[in-house]
């Protein structure tokens, strides 16, 4: 096996799948807890996520790349630049957020209403909703997903962007 001694991926395929899944889950939980929606790879390397100071063990950058790629494939991560140095991390996939938002809109009978992005995430009406406080980048992608399904349309309003729901 041509694996360098630094490569901590499990050789048994089934075990490796579980291992990757465990890392992905850890990344999403960490980012959700610390309300981090974006990161650079360098930050990630030094963060408690991949750098365990107590154990004096670090996940090598090649393995971090593999974990990030896995998250990207699952729809939880998006690269923010071509050189793959920083990324958006979404502990819920945009489609899932979109669904939650649309459910709230329908439940409160507000189809055909227009909202500013700010209202959605920071308005009083949404204080009890899970998407309250959601970062703009993720919100936009959630609305784009709804747009694809013809359930919403992103529009420009007086001082920024807004959305109309159908």
């Amino acid at each position: 096996m041509a694996m360098s001694f630094e490569w901590p991926l499990q050789p048994n395929v089934d075990t490796r799948q579980k291992q990757l899944a465990a890392w992905c889950s850890l990344v999403l939980s960490f980012c959700r807890l610390h309300k981090q929606s974006s990161m650079t790879v360098m930050e990630a390397q030094e963060s408690p996520l991949f750098n365990n100071v107590k154990l004096q063990r670090k996940l090598p950058v090649e393995s971090i790349q593999i974990v990030l790629e896995e998250l990207r494939k699952k729809g939880n991560l998006e690269w923010l630049d071509k050189s793959k140095s920083s990324f958006l991390i979404m502990w819920r996939r945009p489609e899932e957020w979109g669904k939650l938002i649309y459910q709230w809109v329908s439940r409160s009978g507000q189809n055909n209403s227009v909202f500013t992005l700010y209202e959605l995430t920071n308005g009083e009406d949404t204080e009890d909703e899970e998407f309250h406080g959601l970062d703009e980048a993720t919100l936009l992608r959630a609305l784009q997903a709804l747009q694809q399904e013809h359930k919403a349309e992103i529009i420009t309003v007086s001082d920024g962007r807004g959305v109309k729901f159908f």
Binding site: F5, P8, P11, N12, D14, T15, K18, A22
Partner: protein, 224 residues
């Protein structure tokens, strides 16, 4: 006919006296052994089978391979078949004493030490061992993924030993091949193969770091 052959062989012994000359003679030797073997084939009617077998063994013991019968897995010369049966006799007790499994190198040393003279070449040993299963003898040759070759008693089930290996590793939290070998009283080579097999079966996972290769119970699979 045999007189012709013995003169040829006399000249070959002269070749053995001087190694450098032997190198030059090597090509001639190969040609010679081929022609002898072909003559044996041609004269099949004139020579008894017993004489042929004796003669082939003689060639083999001189280190000249017999090109007429190619060793393929499951078939081989009479010589290797006899050897396989001999090995089964010699190795039964040593195998039982060693937990049912020995590496081929251990077998090689043990057998040659017992023989004292007429030492077996590694090729002969391997070829004989390849026939063990086909001859329905109570031992078999097994090759692990890593290429390591062992002789096992037919009654030995390495996969079942894996279960006990898992228990041992779990008790200690984690183990390297060396630590495991020491605990269980096995050679490090065989200990490593057992741990690797356990990993392949999903019971153990690894931590490969600068400090070495450690095996842990595979919590990825048991705790989801």
């Amino acid at each position: 006919f045999f007189r012709w052959i013995s003169t040829k062989i006399h000249f070959s012994f002269q070749a053995f006296e001087d190694l450098s000359k032997l190198m030059i003679k090597a090509k001639e030797m190969v040609e010679l052994s081929k022609s002898i073997a072909n003559k044996i084939k041609d004269k099949q009617g004139d020579i008894t089978e017993d004489e042929t077998i004796r003669f082939k063994s003689y060639l083999l013991s001189m280190g000249i391979a017999n090109p007429v019968t190619r060793e393929t897995y499951g078939s081989g010369t009479q010589y290797h078949m006899q050897l396989a049966k001999q090995l089964a006799g010699i190795l039964q007790v040593p195998l039982e004493e060693r937990g049912g499994i020995m590496s081929l190198t251990e077998v090689y040393c043990l057998v040659n030490r017992a023989r004292g003279m007429e030492l077996l070449s590694p090729e002969d040993l391997v070829n004989a061992c390849k026939m063990l299963e086909a001859l329905k003898l109570p031992l078999r040759l097994r090759v692990f993924d890593s290429g390591v070759m062992v002789i096992e008693l037919q009654s030995h089930k390495e996969e079942e030993m894996v279960a006990s290996a898992l228990e041992t590793v779990s008790e200690k939290g984690s183990l390297t091949s060396e630590e495991f070998a020491k605990l269980v009283g096995m050679s490090v080579l065989l200990a490593k193969e057992r741990l690797l097999l356990a990993e392949k079966m999903g019971h153990l996972c690894r931590d490969d770091s600068v400090e070495g290769l450690r095996f842990y119970p595979n919590l990825f699979m048991t705790q989801s």
